[in-house]
Point group: C2
């Protein structure tokens, strides 16, 4: 829990009262490797902070899967569209490793934002950063051919390279496993 409060404080300072209320609301929850955290069609009612582990967030389409993003320790995540609109998710989220999280419900976030301006500031900044990250992802998807996409991924996600399978990297880049294997063979 301290890790999350720390994470928040780095973004913008929390008052003592906000920390107290936050602490009383936040709950911990762990997921086993391979466990579904939120399935498509299901409303995502929680906002997570990852203490430890790795998660993939994907879009199942015509039998293939397309990975939107990976989330790892010391980051927040939620099924953004589903959470914000409290509507069924089009994405599925599953744990790629045993994962420990802290969570706040939709209602917790609403109440904390309403009661503590300092917390609303933090959420505003988190949402802003999420928008920027998604924007960057759109840009990257345009960046040239499969080889360039992979080179880019290697640079941007160096720290995760060994933890993610080739198949999942291919799904993230929107190319086939075979193509990615070819790229690795002829660098």
């Amino acid at each position: 829990m301290d890790a999350f409060i720390n994470y928040c404080n780095k973004i913008s300072p929390l008052t003592a009262e906000a920390i107290e209320e936050l602490s009383s609301r936040i709950k911990s929850k762990t997921f086993k490797k391979g466990q579904v955290i939120n399935k498509e069609g299901q409303i995502c009612r929680n906002f997570f902070f990852i203490n430890k582990g790795l998660v993939k967030h994907y879009y199942p389409y015509k039998g293939r899967i397309f990975i939107i993003r990976f989330f790892s320790e010391n980051n927040v995540f939620t099924v953004l569209d589903s959470f914000i609109q409290q509507a069924p998710a089009v994405f599925t989220t599953i744990a790629l490793e045993d994962t420990e999280t802290m969570q706040l419900t939709y209602n917790d976030i609403q109440e904390l934002c309403k009661r503590h301006h300092c917390f609303e500031t933090i959420i505003r900044k988190i949402f802003g950063m999420a928008a920027v990250i998604n924007l960057k992802r759109i840009k990257e998807m345009f960046d040239g051919d499969a080889t360039e996409l992979y080179k880019n991924f290697e640079i941007e996600n160096h720290h995760l390279l060994q933890r993610i399978s080739l198949g999942d990297i291919a799904s993230y880049l929107g190319i086939s496993q075979v193509t990615l294997s070819r790229i690795r063979a002829n660098p």
Copy 2:
């Protein structure tokens, strides 16, 4: 200006004081068709509301251009990454039609957020929506082949179809003009 206040109030109510301060800070600015609003490399210092007109937001890469998004009347826009981080933009924004906007500076937004919790709530929601829209765009980019991408675009942007050139639509979909022309020929 009323249009923007209206837009805000629909998201979450503003107090009278917030409206007053907002009114005193907001400025109007118009752009001629083809005029650059913000160029890559340049820091975007403003947050815009479009009263009238159409804008394209693109990523110039290796001689080609890739359009991230179109913005039209009754919507806010800014070069999100550049604005939030006050860092040089990687995108360029230009007016596709004569465009009338209202604008607030980075500093205006910071001050308004700090002084009026109600305004911070609105910005939080706007950023949240921006993140969701970008997420949706990522998803759409995975949606099948060029033909499906175009069908999708036709549905989602029906109201803009007649205002955007074939070349720009192709740039938005990440396909060549020739391919799009082929698609239109063989529906």
